[in-house]
């Protein structure tokens, strides 16, 4: 087992909407990310995946909780945080919006170096930029062009080169492929895997495409309404999902065989995702859960390690002692 590079403990990010309403985008998330691994985070749109990534990166101020990077507490002062940006980088969702339309590719890749004062020597800088651009599969002829002259996939490659320019160890990829064509998605995912192998990068891979996440990740966490409901290795998650929400999500993946597809029964969730401003009491998933019980509306299930490396937050799988406690409450 490698060392943990990132430890997130009970992280919360609330947005104050107005005097009486708070949007709980991320509501008590804990996980550990080990060096060199890829942790996938999946969930419906609006479940707080992106907020989670941005809060870890420091783009949003966290409301509560603890983030430890390489065993150290997350720096609070501006200067320390500035240093941390060198370690942690982000790949953005929309390659059409995440590149300044008025900058050339050269300027875009030089920007992180400029900010951090790396490679002040012009020749060295050009050399490094050419190195980066070829690493992501573009050529130096592209350097003098503007973003709008590129396709979505190429733009995402530029975004990746920008993220790599500071040689970070952790990359938060916020739905890096969801805005791309399917054929391009595979290329970009392959590129990310390749880079991970070469540089030993750690990825927090946020997405909603389950099959891509499975291919990409070592472990996968499932998010629902600002909380992690299940977290385990990707094989286990896809073979033996425990949480009813994970089961429903997985059954939504179409199987490319019409015979099986016709016969199998899909779990179709009823209703909409409840508003994160006013989440349900107890278990947040209970309003749509096909297996909801009386206890679910009363007590919030703990995020327990049911078996080694398999965390679930569901009353169907609680420990014995907790069951006892529940009896005492009178459910």
């Amino acid at each position: 087992m490698k060392d943990p590079i990132l430890e997130v403990q009970n992280l919360k990010k609330y947005f104050q909407m107005n005097r009486n309403e708070t949007l709980k985008a991320v509501d008590g998330i804990s996980f550990t990310l080990n060096e060199g691994e890829t942790l996938g985070i999946v969930g419906e749109s609006g479940c707080g995946k992106s907020t989670l990534g941005r809060t870890i990166l420091g783009l949003y101020e966290k409301t509560e909780g603890n983030i430890r990077y390489k065993g150290k507490n997350y720096p609070q002062t501006k200067r320390d945080r500035f240093k941390l940006t060198k370690e942690m980088q982000m790949i953005f969702q929309d390659p059409y919006a995440s590149l300044n339309p008025r900058s050339t590719v050269y300027d875009l890749i030089a920007e992180p170096m400029d900010i951090h004062g790396l490679y002040p020597n012009k020749k060295q800088r050009l050399h490094r930029i050419e190195e980066l651009i070829s690493e992501v599969g573009l050529t130096k002829e592209h350097l003098n062009r503007y973003p709008h002259e590129f396709s979505g996939g190429q733009r995402q490659r530029i975004g990746i080169a920008r993220a790599l320019a500071l040689e970070p160890s952790l990359i938060i990829a916020d739905e890096p492929i969801s805005a791309l064509d399917v054929s391009i998605q595979a290329q970009v995912v392959y590129l990310l895997k390749q880079l991970q192998k070469e540089k030993g990068l750690t990825f927090l891979f946020i997405a909603h495409d389950l099959s891509m996440v499975k291919y990409m990740s070592d472990r996968v966490g499932v998010m629902y309404l600002g909380q992690l409901v299940e977290l385990t290795t990707s094989d286990k998650l896809y073979q033996h999902p425990l949480h009813p929400y994970t089961e429903a999500l997985l059954s939504a993946i179409p199987i490319p065989d019409p015979d099986i597809e016709e016969k199998r029964e899909r779990i179709i969730l009823e209703g909409d995702v409840p508003s994160p401003i006013d989440p349900p009491s107890g278990c947040v998933f209970r309003t749509r859960c096909p297996r909801a019980m009386a206890i679910c509306s009363k007590i919030k299930p703990n995020f327990n390690e049911i078996e080694k490396n398999h965390f679930v937050a569901c009353h169907l799988y609680q420990h014995q002692e907790e069951k006892y406690k529940e009896k005492e409450v009178g459910v």
């Binding site: 940006t85 995440s98 300044n100 920007e111």
Partner: protein, 277 residues
């Protein structure tokens, strides 16, 4: 950029206006080397004359050459127009960026101040400032510059609000960029199009305001010529020498028309809905 130049050369209005404006600017710059009468030299025996071979557009009530006075007036009008807009654009950009980007009480403070400035009629405010500072070319520039600040502050603030939540701003933040870098290198380059267009319109507005101030005797002081001042002087001699009022008006008309159309054309060129940019 190259596609923008292409759009530009295709737009005939923009091209014609630019040629007219360039012509005016070149004439103004090289007016001292042209074989013209001195704009302030009086010739008693040639008062209120019509066009002749000696005086191209005729003379005014003191026998001064109208043509050289109009060119000399163009120098002042353009100087006032351009420098006052530089003042208001400069201050407007800074205030607008701060208000739009930092929000909160910065925004409230700046925008409420701008609202107060906006509440005054333009010419009245300019009059008040010139009256307080005293008449003169420099003070006229300053007054018109101050009057136009709210327009640019609002414009910049609005554009910043449109841009500041885009992903590339977040991307810069995630790289550790400081606020000043984000403001001037990320946001500003992306809001230049509406600024450029508004600036051309403001230049013509400034020339008009300067004329109005000079007409009221508070702008450029005699004997130096300015278009507004020339028009004001000519009122009494309209029947005797109609050229005295016609030529400065025509010069102003052509210049402002050219600048306005140029601004409109720039708007078309930069408008993202027209091109693929």
């Amino acid at each position: 950029m190259s596609s923008m130049l292409q759009n530009f050369s295709k737009n005939k209005t923009a091209l014609i206006c630019m040629i007219i404006l360039l012509f005016i600017i070149v004439v103004v710059i090289f007016s001292e080397f042209l074989p013209l009468h001195s704009p302030n030299k009086m010739n008693k025996e040639y008062r209120l004359q019509g066009p002749s071979s000696e005086f191209f557009l005729g003379t005014d009530q003191f026998g001064r050459d109208l043509f050289s006075r109009i060119i000399s007036g163009a120098k002042i009008s353009l100087l006032v127009g351009i420098s006052s807009v530089i003042i208001s654009v400069g201050i407007g950009i800074i205030l607008g960026l701060i208000a739009g980007y930092f929000g909160k009480w910065y925004d409230s403070l700046i925008m409420r101040t701008m609202d107060i400035l906006f509440a005054f009629p333009e010419i009245l405010l300019a009059l008040a400032i010139v009256a307080a500072l005293g008449p003169g070319t420099f003070n006229t520039i300053l007054a018109i510059g101050i009057v136009n600040i709210p327009v640019f502050t609002r414009l910049v603030r609005g554009s910043v609000l449109g841009v500041k939540n885009l992903e590339y701003i977040e991307s810069a933040k995630s790289l550790g960029a400081k606020d000043t870098r984000i403001l001037f290198l990320e946001i500003l380059p992306n809001i230049t199009a509406p600024l450029l267009v508004q600036s051309t319109l403001a230049i013509s507005g400034a020339i008009l305001t300067e004329s109005a101030l000079s007409f009221l005797g508070l702008g450029v002081q005699p004997p130096n010529p300015s278009w507004g001042g020339m028009i004001a002087e000519s009122r009494r001699y309209m029947e005797l020498a109609p050229g005295m009022i016609i030529w400065p008006c025509l010069a102003m008309l052509i210049t402002i028309f050219a600048i306005n159309l140029f601004g409109d054309a720039l708007n078309d060129i930069f408008n993202p809905l027209r091109g693929k940019n």
